[in-house]
């Protein structure tokens, strides 16, 4: 079984972001970049499927500028077999990414597509669902457990207030949530080996996708700053303030 994993290059989750003073966006120059944490979980799941003998090939794909090859190499070091870099400007909209992935799926015919439920930069949480709609395939979003049996995959999903289990007929699209697994670190020998693994380059145009701008970001602003309050000296003062000043208890 072929597994396709879509990943994204984002500002490292442990970096404190800075909004540019001209309101045009967030500063990305000289900022540490990483693979989106939810995508790491998707890569890990695919590699585990391969180790378990369920998957026989793991292909990792990303759309973006040349430097997103760094994250593709990381995925190769974690155990993916080959990579596809879709050359595009940074900031493709989710629907365009979904259309590019649909085109990659037509070429590669994967039985399973895995990706993170959302990227931690734009926080859209859309691509997996959109890809499912375009391909008319079943979707298992926010997965915390994935079990493949024959022609179906059982997906346990994290929903508000609990869990939901679905059975999807393969091929299927799955987006990964935090509890699915704990991603490994790449070992040095595997990082060296990853340099020799194949990396195919394609353009959005070669995939037959038009880049349509559905949305414009007019301005990016820092959030309103919350003002710190007061220090209280004792539990009794705290209780008094909560009762009589804030009136919340």
């Amino acid at each position: 079984m072929k597994v396709l994993v879509a990943i994204k290059r984002v500002i490292d989750p442990y970096v404190k972001i800075r909004v540019k003073s001209d309101g045009s966006g967030v500063e990305t120059n000289n900022v540490k970049m990483s693979m989106n944490p939810f995508c790491e979980i998707a890569v890990e799941e695919a590699v585990r499927l391969k180790e378990a003998g369920v998957a026989d090939e793991v292909i990792v794909v990303s759309a973006g500028e040349i430097n997103c090859q760094e994250q593709l190499r990381t995925a190769l070091a974690l155990g993916a077999d080959r990579a596809i870099h879709i050359e595009a400007e940074t900031g493709l909209e989710p629907l365009t990414v979904a259309k590019a992935l649909q085109s990659v799926m037509e070429r590669e015919q994967p039985r399973l597509v895995l990706m993170g439920k959302q990227s931690i930069d734009t926080d859209n949480n859309q691509v997996a669902q959109m890809l499912s709609a375009l391909t008319q395939l079943p979707q298992g979003t926010f997965a915390s457990e994935v079990i493949i049996k024959g022609d179906a995959v059982t997906v346990t999903r994290e929903i508000d207030g609990g869990l939901e289990t679905l059975s999807l007929t393969l091929p299927a699209i799955i987006s990964t949530d935090l509890r699915l697994n704990e991603p490994r670190y790449a070992s040095l020998p595997n990082i060296m080996k990853a340099k020799k693994k194949p990396m195919e380059q394609l353009t959005v145009a070669e995939l037959g996708v038009d880049i349509v701008r559905h949305q414009e970001v007019l301005e990016v602003m820092p959030p309103p700053e919350r003002q710190g309050g007061v220090r209280v000296a004792s539990v009794s003062e705290l209780v008094d303030k909560l009762k009589n000043e804030a009136k919340v208890i």
């Binding site: 989750p13 972001i17 909004v19 967030v26 939810f38 989710p94 629907l95 979904a98 931690i120 930069d121 926080d123 859209n124 949480n125 691509v127 997996a128 669902q129 959109m130 499912s132 709609a133 079943p138 979707q139 979003t141 926010f142 059982t154 994290e158 929903i159 508000d160 207030g161 609990g162 869990l163 939901e164 289990t165 059975s167 999807l168 935090l178 509890r179 559905h214 949305q215 414009e216 970001v217 007019l218 301005e219 990016v220 602003m221 820092p222 959030p223 919350r226 710190g228 309050g229 007061v230 220090r231 539990v235 009794s236 705290l238 209780v239 303030k241 909560l242 804030a246 919340v248 208890i249």
Partner: protein
């Protein structure tokens, strides 16, 4: 301008989040239509008809919609969508799962997790886990929007039903996805995302046994319990309790952070709470910079005292 809201419900009653979406939609038009899709869910449609601002209720009551699977519901919504300029749903796991699929079927983009509707085509939404806000304009003929419910007050329900219910006979069967089961988290406490009071514990508690102090305090206040990423990673509690960038986003009236230092990942999930209390032994912990009331000291002395004094 015509707005369609997708109701979230469990075939028996309407979710409070849907009421918040109705209120959010009032920025677009004085009245809205609501779609209730489910099985044997007529009661939900009648309830929706009582909500202030709802002029029309569409009811798709059929066994194929019982579990509200995105594959069926998205096709149903796409069928009726052309009559509307805006399609809204709560940015809950229900709406997040469903609406992007609708957008793709309509070949339009989606505006996710909107916290403010500026006008018919421009919204404000958080990016980078709320560490920045983006004003985004949609150029699409149909705007597909999920609403971050913590940012809006609920619409009111009236005593009598005012909106008429019209039944849709569109049936979208789906043989590629099967519902297997649903396991609700059994808890006497209110749900984290909807609670009026949230008490969260962090690494400062030291171990999972000490987390009982957080639970006791929450129970005294009738609140929900939450946790920081650090507490989840340390194994004190399961990660469905995690508040933050990658967990739940909450905005209760009172948020009490116990032994939480205040990493940006955590702050992103709770900084919109109305009143924030921080209790921490480290006077320099960043959580104090956003807390309305800060109390520095040993948790294991302060918490029992606080629990006893309530």
């Amino acid at each position: 301008m015509a707005t369609l809201i997708i109701a979230e419900h469990n075939n028996v009653s309407l979710s409070p989040d849907t009421l918040k979406v109705v209120n959010a939609a009032m920025a677009l038009s004085p009245s809205v239509s609501i779609l209730v899709a489910g099985a044997r869910c007529r009661a939900v449609a009648d309830e929706v008809g009582k909500v202030t601002g709802v002029a029309e209720v569409l009811l798709a009551d059929n066994a194929v919609y019982e579990h509200q699977l995105a594959e069926s519901l998205s096709a149903l919504i796409a069928e009726v969508a052309q009559r509307y300029t805006h399609i809204l749903a709560p940015a809950t796991t229900f709406g997040k799962n469903l609406l992007p699929r609708v957008a793709a079927l309509l070949d339009v983009g989606q505006l996710s997790d909107v916290i403010q509707i500026k006008n018919a085509d421009t919204v404000i939404r958080p990016i980078y886990a709320g560490n920045a806000l983006a004003a985004v304009k949609s150029n699409d003929p149909i705007k597909v929007i999920t609403i971050r419910c913590a940012a809006f007050e609920p619409a009111q329900e009236q005593a009598i039903q005012v909106a008429s219910v019209s039944e849709l006979d569109i049936v979208v069967a789906n043989d590629i996805t099967q519902f297997v089961s649903k396991q609700a988290v059994e808890s006497e406490r209110p749900e984290l995302a909807a609670a009026r009071v949230v008490v969260s514990g962090g690494r400062g508690l030291g171990n999972s046994e000490s987390f009982a102090l957080v639970e006791k305090l929450a129970d005294k206040l009738g609140g929900a319990i939450g946790a920081s990423r650090a507490a989840v990673d340390a194994g004190f509690v399961s990660n469905d309790l995690q508040v933050g960038q990658t967990g739940k986003i909450v905005a209760p009236e009172l948020y009490i952070a116990v032994g939480i230092s205040g990493a940006i990942q955590h702050l992103a999930g709770m900084k919109d709470s109305k009143v924030i209390v921080a209790i921490n032994s480290d006077p320099d912990a960043p959580i104090f910079q956003i807390a309305d009331y800060g109390l520095v000291g040993d948790l294991f002395e302060l918490l029992p005292e606080l629990i006893d004094s309530l």
